[in-house]
Amino acid sequence: MCGVLGAGGAAAGAPQAFRWAGDPEGGAPFVEADPSRPDALVGFDVEIAGLLAQSLGRTPEFVNIQFNYIDQSIARGDAEIGLSGIEDTPARRASLAVTVPYYEFREVLSVRAADAQRIRSLADLRGRTVATLGGTIAYEILLRAQQDVGLQAVSYEDDVHPFSDLVVGRVDAVLLDNVLAERRKRAMTGFEILPQTIAIGHYVGVLSQAQAPMRDAIDATLRGAMRDGTLERILRKWSVWNDDQPRLFARVIAGEQVPAVVGLDTSASVATMSRWRAARVYLPSLLRASVVTIVLSVLSMALAVAIGVGIATGRVYGGPGVRVALTSYVELIRGTPILLQLFVLYYGLAAAVRLPAFVAALIGLALNYAAYESEIYRSALEAISVGQLEAARTLGLSERQVLTLVRGPQAFRLALAPMTNDFVAMLKDSSLVSVLTVLELTKQTQIFATNLGSWVIPGILCAALYLAMSLPLAALARKLESRWKRPTA
């Protein structure tokens, strides 16, 4: 059963579409583009979606949603159901209509082969760095262990780079479910999956609360597929069938209430708290993330200014070779996405230079912004009148002194307003570095929202913190601009 990427609405007279959301970036065995037909999808979630659509008398239509945003998309009605290896959690149960679980997985640790004998549990990872996918049960487990055991939790945006960073030594272990770990093990060498189970969880489908009647119909279909072996055939086909599944199926068919997670105390989950209590619980971590954002932005901007001044000076005063080289750099940076640059710097160069995430983020932002800053400084330098420069030269100042004492200070005043604008932009662009596992304000807010099952309070808090950082900066810039206002007479 294959879903069709980007399929349009149903034709007149054809069955109504059954819109289901998933993230093909997650890949097999869940949802991935068919290697032989890239416009078609394959995976066990694709087949389950087909099964559900058929039972409803409808045609499956795939909606491509990034994994982290599937809950929000379902809540706002972009699709009727989310199916993409979505975990059953208290937050999802509180904010969405969740189907019965159709697969049971185990959270397992993966470590480098050399550590396999020494590490048995999270307690053995005190002082070590452990990676996982953000917004998952595994991340919640690691956050608890961070406090209880003293390990360092690192969250990733995808489930591939935790393992590649494990192999190159950036992290010491990966905690993810057995399906993801075994899939990665088939494609990569240099690590081992430990047999111990850290926690047990389940994959479910998620619908908006308004779709509870459809959820009940889907639950009936899933139970039927468990009874008649359809689901087993699908899971066997994708090599994820194991002895845990018959036990789960028996409990689901018997109507037993299956707990969302086993092995993680979810009684203190923010999803079970009042919104305001949850906000109070998360506020300290949001404030810590704000510190990361402001420190990263200030250091990156300082470096970007220094490099930008160098580039601008080289382009104005340098020889033809220097000018061509610097212009090429500026055009290369401006012509490629910053996300690509961050990926290349952190992951692409990892074999040669293993930069820590914060350092890579700092350098990546600085190198990107330096290109834009240099254009501001270059145009500001070129805007200083020739008369000012000639007056300085006739007084016997060297070209270097003309630049540092006359041209540079005047150009700085011209550049101040756009520089401030860029700094405020950097405060916000710094959220991009979460792809390098840096836990800054936007990423922390996303984690908060995922765990809470709502973006309203996390969004308001996040916006307030960004404004608390950017408004004083804008006020300071206005003050400096008025003090150093360029003479008009």
Binding site: A391, R393, T394, L395, S398, R413, W484
Partner: protein
């Protein structure tokens, strides 16, 4: 008219300057005695300002020779860094629009070159700058930015800035262009004081009355030659 030492401090000999295919100066020769105020006059485009800019080391020239207070240089040396450095100890320039540094106060404008080009200690440079401002009657404007100065005040600060490095020759481009009659008279008196102190002034001007009243000699130009 000030009685001046007649020994030449400035000699221009067959100066030729081209901009692309266009000949701007076509073999200008000129001698200026020490302590003189010489006015270069002529229609726009005759080459007056170009001569001042060449003497200030702002325009390279193709042929001819310039001698200023013993410093001799020809066309090929005009862009030589060492020659330019020596030249700028000999010649100060006051631009038509003053070109005061917009980010610095009047006092800072005057102190900049002594401190950074001549390595005069800052406190000493400031004392000398204040003395210059006082002698030009604008000491009360020491802390004003250029945009806060009147045209006459800005010109006096510009003259003080040029004189702060104590050049024996001062060049001025259209010094009366933005002055009312009263200020023109004050400027003339100030320039007479400077020539009385032994400085040599070469000014480019369209102002016949001013030149007639204050210059020791008028040199007329047309189409890049002295007539």
């Amino acid at each position: 008219m000030t009685a001046a030492d007649t020994s030449p401090i400035l000699t221009i000999d067959q100066l030729q300057l081209n901009r692309g295919a266009r000949q701007i100066l076509k073999g200008v020769s000129l001698t200026v005695g020490r302590g003189h105020l010489v006015a270069l006059m002529g229609p726009s485009g005759s080459g007056k300002t170009t001569i001042l800019r060449t003497l200030a080391g702002l325009e390279p020239f193709q042929a001819g020779r310039i001698v200023i207070d013993g410093l001799v240089f020809g066309g090929g040396e005009a862009s030589n860094r060492a020659t330019l450095s020596q030249l700028r100890r000999k010649v100060g320039m006051v631009f038509q629009f003053h070109c005061l540094f917009e980010h610095l106060t009047a006092l800072q404008n005057i102190c900049l070159a002594p401190v950074h080009a001549l390595r005069v200690p800052p406190h000493q440079a400031e004392q000398q700058a204040r003395a210059l401002l006082t002698s030009f009657g604008v000491e009360h404007r020491a802390d004003a930015l250029p945009r806060e100065l009147s045209g006459g005040e800005a010109q006096r600060v510009a003259i003080a800035r040029a004189l702060a490095v104590e050049p024996p020759v001062l060049l001025m481009d259209e010094p009366t262009a933005s002055l009312d009659p009263e200020r023109r008279g004050e400027l003339g008196a100030l320039l007479r004081t400077l020539t009385g102190q032994g400085r040599t002034l070469l000014i480019a001007t369209h102002d016949e009355d001013f030149a007639g009243e204050f210059a020791t000699r008028i040199v007329r130009m047309r189409d890049g030659v002295v007539t």
